[in-house]
């Protein structure tokens, strides 16, 4: 069995891509916060990606990925109509969603895509969702209009000030927390430094803060422990205990270092892939 790409949308050329995959058995079960693991081809590695959206009726799952290495670069060569070899999910614990008031969902970089699915879930549960998203400039902002469909407020921060606040999402978040004492939860998904910074900002306000960890994974079903992280002084497996944890308890420093575990191999693999691509272009 293979999984067809029904739609491919280049969000940021050469960098971020959205794929809509035909995977009914995943779509019918997926909830906000879940992730999938895919493999492009026979020699491919297992790539974990948080679900950006899904449509149970259509049987589709939307994923958004950033080209960071060989495997994602290869995935980026797939076009509409082509199929991915393996697509496994839904994995991980779903986001805990209940009607609770106002929830601020913070997203940075590609993390906005995963945050989108969670924000949508909170909105569907009747929560007022304030989205805070950031990027280097306005052209790199993801899911801005989609979030606008169900979030009464979408606050934007860009490094260069080309849209919204000039600066970081944490500054926007902090201001919002100062103005509005009635925030029940903050959800943050994005690069590790961003999630760490968000947790630091929310701590003095005593607001529940949920982060979604993008640890290295192999099986994604609790078998290997590659994704282990320290939360509140205890070792947890991001794949079965998470991927969402209390942001105030996560050891982000450890997570950052563990994410670099295979960097030399990743670089070697990427270099070979790029050389191969150049050869192919040369022909």
């Amino acid at each position: 069995m293979s999984y067809r790409i029904l739609e491919k949308k280049v969000l940021i050329p050469g960098q971020t891509t959205l794929l809509v995959i035909d995977a009914p058995h995943v779509a019918q079960k997926a909830k906000p916060g879940n992730f999938i693991i895919l493999r492009t081809s026979e020699k491919g590695e297992r790539i974990p990606l948080t679900i950006a959206d899904c449509d149970a009726k259509a049987g589709t799952v939307t994923i958004v990925f950033l080209v960071v290495g060989k495997s994602t670069a290869e995935l980026n060569t797939f076009e509409e109509g082509q199929s991915i070899l393996d697509f496994c999910g839904p994995l991980g614990k779903a986001t805990h969603i209940e009607k609770q008031g106002t929830v601020i969902c913070v997203g940075g970089g590609t993390g906005v895509a995963a945050m989108h699915h969670i924000a949508k879930g909170h909105a569907a549960a009747g929560n007022r969702v304030v989205a805070v998203i950031g990027a280097r400039n306005k052209d790199l902002l993801l899911f801005c209009s989609e979030l606008g469909n169900f979030c009464p407020e979408v606050l934007v921060a860009t490094d260069d000030g080309s849209q919204g606040h000039k600066g970081f999402v944490t500054e926007v978040l902090k201001q919002r927390l100062e103005e509005d004492k009635d925030i029940s939860e903050v959800v943050a998904i994005g690069p590790v430094p961003m999630m760490e910074a968000v947790a630091k900002v929310t701590k003095p306000f005593g607001v529940k803060t949920t982060v979604s960890l993008n640890s290295i994974m192999v099986d994604g079903i609790g078998m290997c422990g590659a994704c282990r992280c320290t939360v509140g002084g205890e070792t947890k497996f991001a794949c079965v205990d998470g991927p969402e944890f209390d942001g105030h308890e996560v050891d982000f420093g450890e997570l950052r270092l563990r994410l670099s575990q295979f960097r030399p191999q990743e670089q070697e693999s990427m270099k070979l892939f790029q050389e191969k691509c150049k050869c192919a272009e040369g022909k």
């Binding site: 069995m1 058995h25 995943v26 079960k29 493999r39 020699k43 491919g44 590695e45 297992r46 060989k70 495997s71 070899l85 393996d86 697509f87 496994c88 999910g89 839904p90 994995l91 192999v218 099986d219 079903i221 609790g222 078998m223 290997c224 422990g225 590659a226 282990r228 992280c229 320290t230 070792t235 497996f237 079965v240 450890e254 270092l257 563990r258 670099s260 575990q261 295979f262 191999q265 990743e266 070697e268 693999s269 070979l272």
Partner: protein, 485 residues
């Protein structure tokens, strides 16, 4: 039988050809090469064909060992295979991975006085020979039923009786093969992208070639069994949903997934892996062939593997093949207490694996970048025997030392994987958190839901998982087919 058995010291146990150690640590191919016809005949002839064979009592699935070796003595290979298949669904696998020295061969009468008799009959090697040779001689096309049952014809698959297996390891494969041969439509749901369970992600190619597992699975598919990979039981599908979809029985064989760590400081440092991760990367992900395959593996000059079982041996020998200069097994008891299969321990030592015995990890020490640099161990001595009958290791107060290493693989066992258990309402678990199943039928607290293998017993052997699968399969067949079974 015309000839007398040849069982004197002049006819010792027939050695099995192996790749020489210095050659094999540079490749990932199978170490033991298996008997040829002459070797198998010579070894089969050593069997005394005892009136009351003890070997059978040592076998967890009570294979008629005397029977299959008897057929081999007569030169009847298909006959020998048929006997094996009556009891054992994966003889090619078991011939390679069973701890024979503590099972059948441990009971063989010839093993009692090896100086005089030349040692126990090499039952495992003969089992492997029969299974491999028979499969190799099968003609294509009409081979599936013969391979699965040893019989020429199996029943046609009927669509009105279907059974689901969750997990595609040894226990489920046994259920699938047994029921498929009876014409029951079996669907196997596997979470990973490849079927085979521990046979594929855990046991390395150099000990059990993947082609053997694939051959078995292909034959089951030909008999009508369907394998759905990338389906996580409890996530993509629940037990209740399977019944709703018309499955008449469900077999749970999901293995004992969650790796145990040691809870010592520094365990999350870079360079510390569970054996499951290390082996899954190499075996399932073919990381030994990186970057041709995309899954990376961590390499280091000095490697420590913690544990004394087969998984520890597999990890240590894998590390050697991946180019480590020094690989040490760190074990808190002595060689005599190691639970590993004797042949694996011997092969590991031949290949240059060092043993750091009577010591137990206290801390994993890392540099400022959290990269592992050494392991501090507590030296131990042996005390009184514990509940398992093995001598309990006792710490020698204040006696510690550091072993330099940049890679540590932890192979100290597993815990039950919670995914399916949490998703299945009404499934009774035992005190240790494994599934409570009827030892006679394999049935769980839920009617027509069966379980077997490591998820019932905790980490055990391939053969015991198969035995449990067989019991459950027989019960399922009896219930679904009635007298036709």
């Amino acid at each position: 039988m015309s000839e007398k058995p040849m069982t004197t010291a002049k006819h010792p146990r027939t050695e099995m050809p192996v790749q020489p150690p210095f050659v094999r640590i540079q490749n990932y191919l199978e170490v033991a090469l298996g008997y040829g016809e002459a070797e198998a005949q010579a070894e089969a002839k050593r069997c005394l064909q005892c009136k009351k064979p003890l070997c059978r009592q040592g076998c967890p699935v009570e294979i008629d060992i005397k029977g299959f070796i008897g057929q081999l003595q007569k030169g009847d290979l298909p006959g020998a295979y048929k006997v094996l298949r009556e009891y054992n669904s994966l003889p090619s696998v078991c011939g390679r991975v069973c701890p024979q020295e503590t099972q059948c061969e441990g009971m063989c009468i010839l093993g009692k006085n090896p100086q005089k008799t030349g040692g126990a009959v090499a039952i495992g090697r003969l089992e492997r020979y029969v299974a491999d040779t028979f499969a190799a001689r099968l003609a294509e096309g009409d081979a599936a039923c013969l391979q699965i049952t040893g019989e020429a014809a199996c029943r046609m698959t009927r669509d009105d009786v279907k059974v689901a297996c969750i997990g595609a390891g040894p226990a489920s494969l046994t259920v699938a093969g047994y029921l498929a041969a009876l014409g029951i439509k079996v669907t196997v749901f596997e979470a990973l992208h490849e079927a085979g369970g521990v046979l594929v992600y855990g046991i390395p190619e150099f000990r059990l070639p993947k082609s053997i597992v694939r051959r078995e699975i292909d034959a089951m598919k030909e008999l009508g069994a369907e394998f759905k990979t990338n389906w996580v039981g409890g996530k993509a599908v629940t037990v209740q949903e399977l019944f709703d979809q018309g499955y008449k029985a469900v077999f749970i064989g999901v293995g004992a997934g969650l790796p145990q760590f040691m809870k010592v400081p520094g365990e999350n440092s870079i360079g510390v892996f569970s054996a499951n991760e290390y082996l899954t990367r190499v075996n399932l992900g073919r990381a030994y062939d990186f970057p041709n395959y995309d899954t990376p593996i961590f390499k280091a000059e000095e490697v420590c593997v913690v544990g004394g079982g087969n998984v520890a041996m597999d990890a240590a020998r894998t590390a050697l093949r991946l180019g480590a200069k020094k690989v040490s097994i760190v074990y808190r008891r002595t060689k005599a207490e190691m639970p590993a299969r004797l042949e694996e321990l011997e092969h590991a030592i031949e290949e240059g694996v060092q043993l750091e015995l009577l010591c137990s990890p206290l801390a994993l020490n890392a540099d400022e970048n959290k990269r592992l640099v050494s392991m501090t161990v507590q030296n131990m001595k042996l005390g009184e025997p514990d509940a398992s009958g093995r001598c309990r290791p006792v710490p020698i107060e204040g006696d510690t030392r550091d072993i330099p290493c940049q890679l540590v693989v932890i192979a100290v066992g597993t815990k039950p994987n919670p995914i399916l258990l949490e998703a299945t309402k009404g499934l009774a678990l035992n005190k240790r958190g494994y599934i409570d199943a009827n030892p006679e039928t394999g049935e769980t607290s839920i009617h027509n839901v069966f379980a077997g293998g490591d998820i019932v017993t905790g980490a055990a052997t391939v053969i015991s998982a198969m035995g449990a699968g067989r019991k459950a399969a027989k019960e399922i067949a009896k219930r679904l087919l009635g007298t036709e079974a």
